[in-house]
Symmetry: C2
Subunit: 418 residues, 2 copies
C-alpha cells in the first residue's frame, strides 16, 4: 500500500482532545488506503519546560543528558496517539527513536540523521498494522545514547521517514493553514500560497518564516519529498494548505513569491581595518569560533586611512541576530586585545530589521532589485546594507520602517494576486 | 570500590531543589569511597498524571503503549540527577532501562526482571565514573519494547541492581523516616524500628504499610540484600532509618514487631453452598478469573441445609479489598446464573477492617493469639474472621473499632518499648 507521512506539531497534540482530532485525520487517510507513518511532537510547552529544567540545573550542561531529558515529551504523545488510534480500531503502535532505530550522529542536541532502516516497520505494515506512530525529534547515536535533532526537529524526522519509506507525501500539520506571501499580522493583504518551491521555502524559513525547520526543507529538497503544510484546526481537504515541492510541479509563478522579514537583527561596523589579504577570514573566523551567526556582509574599501594611517584601509559591516551582538563585540574586542585583529573602533546598531523578497522567478526576470529599491525610496526608507542571492534580495533598514517596507513591497510585486 | 545503591522516590525528586538535596547525599557517599548506583522515580504526581491520560484515552488500553507512556517521567529525573551531580563535579551519567539493559518479561505493566548484565556500567565505573543514575520502574522486553514493573516498581529496580552488583546496601530514600511498629497517625505510641526482618516487612507491606513495594522486599530476601528505609528530608547518619535485613542480623526482638491494619476491606458470605468436593476451587477459581484478590477465607460446614435441601451444606466467608466487592458479587451471581455454582444468597459487609499482629518471634513463642483475642475481648471488640500464618495473626473487625484495636494491641504487646 502507498505510504503517507503525517506530522503533528505541539499545538496539534497539546491535549487529549486534540490528539483525538489528529487521530481522526489519520483514520481518514487509512480509510483511503494509505499505510501511515505519524510523527508527533511533545505537547505544546512541554519541551520548553524540560529545556528550562536542564538550563536551571546546569548552565553548561552535558548535551547527552540534555537529550535524555528533553526527548521524553515525544514518548508520551507517541504512546497516547497509538492508544487513541487503537480506540478507533485502527491497528497502530508506537516507536521511540531507538526502537526504529533512527540512527544519528553523536552531535547531541543537533544530531544529523544517518539512517532509518525500514525493515522493522515495513514488516508490521505487512502484518496488518496500518499506522506507525513515531516519537519525533529523537534518535540514537552509535554509542547507544539518545540524541535529539535540534528544536523543530520533528519536521526533519517526518521528512526523513518520508524519504526512507518512499512516501507519496509528507503532511505537516501545524497551527497555521499554510505558507503565506508574508506574515498576515504585518500585511493584511498577505495571501496563502498553494505551492512554493523548496528553494523559496528555504529562503523564507531561514529568514524567519518559522513554519518549518530549515533542515527539514533541505532534506525534502535533496530527496524530492513532497511536503504539505496545513492546519490541524481546519476542515481537511486534498487542496488544503501549501505544497512545498520541486520547481517542476509549479506551473507558473510570480517573479516574487513572498516577502520575508526579521526583526531581531543587529548591525556591526568594524571601522578602519587594515585591508590586508586574509583579513575577512580572520574577522569571520573569530566570530564563527565565538558562535556568532553572521548573515549579511558588506566591505567598503577606502584609499586613505583615518588619522596617521595611510595604507589601504576598509570598513567591514555585517549583521547578526540581536541576541548574539554582545558575544560578537566581546570576540572582536578580544581579538584586538590579543593582537589578532587591528581596527579603530566598533559601531553597532540594534534598531534594525531585515526585509527580503524571495522568488525563483528572479532567475529569469531582471529588474527585481531595481523595483525593490525604487519602492523603498518612494516611501523614504533608507537602505543600510544590501545582500543578494540567486532567488533573494535582502536589505537592512531601520526597524521602525519594517512594516511599511513589507507592505509597500507586497503591493509593488502584486503578491495579493495569485 | 564497594557499590552502594541509593533509591530516591517521587517526593525526594519532586523539584530541582530536592534533586539537588538528593544529589548532595549521593556526593557524601561517593566521598566515602563508594561507587554509587542511583535509582530515581518520576517527580511526585507525574506518573499519576500519565496514568490518568492513558486511562482517559483508552479504558482498556494496550499495556505496551501504557508502558511507553508512563515510563517517561523517570527519564526526566534520571537525566536531571546526572546533570546535578556533574555540576557538583561528581562524574555521573544516566541510563534508561533499555540502555542498561534491564531485561524483563513481556508482562507489560507488571513485568518481572529477568537479568541485569552489569558489564556496561561496571566498565564505566572502571573508567572513573562514580555514579550511574538509572531511570527506575522501567525495563525492556525480549521484543525490544519498554516495560514497567508495576506501581512502586522503582523499589524493585533498586533491589535488583543491588543484587546484580553485589552492593553493600540498598538505601531507599522516601518521605518517611523508617518503618514503625504501627501507623503513628492511628497510635501515638508508635515507635520507629531500627531493624526488621524481611518476612516481617513482607507481612507489614502487604497488609497496607506502604513503605516499600512488596516485590522489592521479596527480591531483597531472596538475594539477601540489606535494605535501609530512610527519609530524604532529615539529616543523614549511618544509623538513620530502618534496616530491613535477614533474621541473622537481628539480635533479639519482641515477639510481635508491629501491628498492621487495612481499612479498605469487605466481607462476603456465600450462604448455603452444597459442600461437594471441589466447591472451594470452583468458588475461588471464579473469583480469581474475575481478578478479585481474596484474602481471608473461612468455611463453616453445617450438617443440615436450609429450605428443602438436606445434603451437607456450608457457608463460605471471605474478605477482599472493598473496591473489588462489586466485581466479586457480579462474578458469583454470574456463576449461579449459568449453573456453575449453587448457593442460597450472598451476604456482604463493607464496614469492616483487618488488624494484624506480626513478628518472627511468634515462631518460638506461644500464646500470642490468646493474648490478642483476650485484648480485643477486653475492649468489647467482636472478631468476625480469623486468619493466621507462621508469623502473623489477622482478624476482621467492625471498622469503627479499628483504631481502638490497634492501640490496645500496641499496648498489650508493649511495642512502645524497644
Amino acid at each position: 500500500m502507498p505510504v503517507l507521512v503525517m506530522k503533528f506539531g505541539g499545538t496539534s497534540v497539546a491535549t487529549l482532545d486534540r490528539i483525538r482530532r489528529a487521530a481522526k485525520r489519520v483514520g481518514t487517510e487509512v480509510a483511503k488506503g494509505y499505510d501511515v507513518i505519524v510523527i508527533v511532537s511533545a505537547m505544546a510547552g512541554k519541551t520548553n519546560e524540560l529545556v528550562g529544567w536542564v538550563n536551571e540545573t546546569s548552565p553548561f550542561y552535558d548535551a547527552r543528558e540534555y537529550d535524555a531529558v528533553v526527548s521524553s515529551g515525544e514518548n508520551v504523545t507517541a504512546g497516547l496517539m497509538a492508544l487513541t488510534l487503537q480506540e478507533m480500531e485502527v491497528p497502530a503502535r508506537s516507536w521511540q527513536g531507538w526502537q526504529v532505530p533512527l540512527m544519528t550522529t553523536s552531535a547531541h542536541g543537533a544530531a544529523r540523521i544517518e539512517d532509518i532502516p525500514p525493515a522493522n516497520i515495513t514488516q508490521k505494515f505487512a502484518e496488518g498494522m496500518r499506522v506507525a506512530v513515531i516519537a519525533g525529534f529523537q534518535g540514537v547515536s552509535p554509542e547507544g545514547r539518545i540524541t535529539t535533532l535540534g528544536r523543530g526537529g520533528s519536521d526533519t524526522s517526518a521528512v526523513a521517514f518520508a524519504a526512507a519509506f518512499g512516501a507519496e507525501r509528507c503532511d505537516i500539520y501545524t497551527d497555521v493553514d499554510g505558507v503565506y506571501t508574508t506574515d498576515p499580522r504585518v500585511c493584511a493583504k498577505a495571501r496563502k500560497l498553494d505551492r512554493i518551491a523548496f528553494e523559496e521555502m528555504l529562503e523564507l524559513a531561514s529568514l524567519g518564516a518559522k513554519v518549518l525547520q530549515t533542515r527539514s526543507v533541505e532534506l525534502a529538497m535533496r530527496y524530492n519529498v513532497k511536503l504539505r503544510v496545513l492546519s490541524s484546526f481546519e476542515e481537511q481537504s486534498d487542496e488544503a494548505g501549501t505544497l512545498v515541492c520541486g520547481e517542476d510541479l509549479i506551473m507558473e509563478s510570480n517573479v516574487v513569491s513572498g516577502v520575508a522579514f526579521s526583526r531581531e537583527e543587529a548591525k556591526v561596523t568594524i571601522v578602519t581595518v587594515a585591508d590586508t589579504p586574509g583579513i575577512a577570514a580572520s574577522i569571520f573566523g573569530t566570530l564563527s569560533d565565538a558562535g556568532v551567526n553572521v548573515d549579511m556582509i558588506v566591505q567598503n574599501v577606502s584609499e586613505t586611512g583615518y588619522g596617521s594611517h595611510d595604507e589601504l584601509v576598509t570598513d567591514m559591516t555585517f549583521s547578526c541576530p540581536n541576541e548574539q551582538l554582545a558575544r560578537a563585540e566581546k570576540a572582536l574586542e578580544g581579538a584586538r586585545a590579543d593582537g589578532t585583529l587591528a581596527f579603530e573602533r566598533l559601531e553597532t546598531e540594534t534598531e534594525v530589521a531585515k526585509v527580503s523578497v524571495v522568488g525563483i522567478g528572479m532567475r529569469s526576470q531582471s529588474g527585481v532589485a531595481a523595483r525593490m529599491f525604487r519602492t523603498l525610496a518612494a516611501e523614504g526608507i533608507n537602505i543600510k546594507v544590501i545582500a543578494t542571492s540567486e532567488i533573494k534580495i535582502s536589505v537592512l533598514v531601520d526597524r521602525k520602517y519594517m512594516e511599511l517596507a513589507v507592505q509597500a513591497l507586497h503591493d509593488a510585486f502584486e503578491l495579493e494576486r495569485a
